[in-house]
Amino acid sequence: MYEKDGEKYFVVDSHMHYWDASPENWVPGAEQYAKGWIECFHAYQSLGPAETHWSIEHFQKYSEEDTMKDLFTDGHVDVAIAQPTYLREWYTEGFNTTERNGELLRKHPDKFRLNTRFDPRDGDAGMREFERNVEEWKPIGAKLYTAEWNGDSRGYKLSDPECYRFLERAQELGIKNIHIHKGPTIWPLDKDAFDVADVDKAATDFQGLNFIVEHVGLPRIEDFCFMATQEPNVYAGLSVVLGGLMHARPRFFAKVMGELLFWVGEDKMTFGSDYAIWEPKWQVEGLVDWDYPEGHDYDDYPRLGVEGKKKILGLNAARLYDIPVPAELQLRGDSPAAQDDAELVEREVAQA
């Protein structure tokens, strides 16, 4: 929870990692990739405030204590959604697996929600692994990297038949939220890597799932915006947008926020720190303090007020993940009872 000027913000960090990229975990023969990957991540950190930069050694492997302190003690976060990234070809035990995140969940069940993942190209074996993970960890979300190369494959689409099989199974198993990485180029990619047409199709066909597009499709933010504005179950995941731009390039950040507020809207934007690339503390505080810079460049963008910031920082994600929010941290006049009433009215209108 973060409090500023008498307003209290419930904070859900909906996109964070708990990785091990230390040299001991590099796959022999693939060291240059493992090293290149973490150095690339580390360079992203440089876009945040100087006092939040870490040494590369600390960045390669940080402890559970570091994580708890950076997120919850210092970072104002109430609940964090731990997202997996496997990269087993480079990291012996994986970069950031479901199991590794599970260590955090086991010790701090009230602080974390755990997401798992699947790769439809892994076929039946991948399906069994996915099912095992769901059974063991009871996640209601999954993180997918459609641009990842796998064997001879240069990526896949959410709209591929094999992926539909996994999405159908995910829905049966109680998964509600699919986070998709559509973002900056830190991996071999082909021309389809940022194409969001597959999200468009899947979101239409799977109305029971929410699709949170992490990094909002940068560098093709406009394609994402034009799509998301038409799909009620598509969300803008702000990881990288905040961390990469808010401090380093405030004017560009303001324009990106303006675009997202215009096309997507404050009800469908979710805060994610992308920890440990960036710590949440400065991002939460910065967003609460944020307003457009002076100048006419921003005149025709929607404004973002206190209520909108509360939604983005936590309430939207809390809704997606069924995270209970204390009454004093709800929007004014928006208690759970009021939400039920609103749904009732909507249903009655729909039936009439």
Partner: protein, 250 residues
Amino acid sequence: MTVLSDTRVLGSNAEAAAASTGTTARVWEALRSVRDPELDADVVSLDFVASVSVDVSGDSAVAHVALRLPTYFCAPNFAFLMVADAHDVVSAAEGVSRADVVLIDHFASDAINAGVAARAGFVTSMAGTEVGEAVAELDELRRTFTERALMAGTDLVVRPLMREGATPEQVAAMALGDAPASADLDRLRRRRLELGIPSSDADPLVVDPSGRTVGVEALPLHLRKARSYQVGVDANTSICRGQLAARYGV
């Protein structure tokens, strides 16, 4: 901007030194025509040129160019495109007998450099490497990004007109020659030409990426989208510049 530039002269006569200096300048100038398609900016202003040197020996002048990118994992297809384009323009620069263009500090450096150096059918020469088939789609990729550059460029040219009070009706009726001269307008014309869209003074100012005129009804949404494209390019460019600065201390 800190860019390494040295002129190595084999032999010591002043004439060769002068020739080398002039050639080095022409190589830099030529590199200004090579652009990152994603960012729609040239590799010199993006600081992607790590070094240029020209070795002069007798009648021969070999231009050595090293390119660098913001990260080890920058998209290899874009990387390939820039190295191949740089190889082409440097080879064609006056006074250059041979170009040696390499990409440094990239996971696919070896494959890309070998492919570009081999030159003959580089797509096939890349097969079986980690870059693989991605480079087979370069032309399509280039077109996609040129279309995006057209949209973003439209925002840069038209937004100031609207701010000065031009109405949608006026903008929809404007020809290219009606817009005030600017670097942004020149660039918009070049992108249109690359897409095969007529770009004389008499041609319509606002067209979609297929070259169709945008009527007054569709204009507000078209311009709203054009602005989103421009914001996307700006945001991406700022992240890339930040990464490059972190990596090379520039």
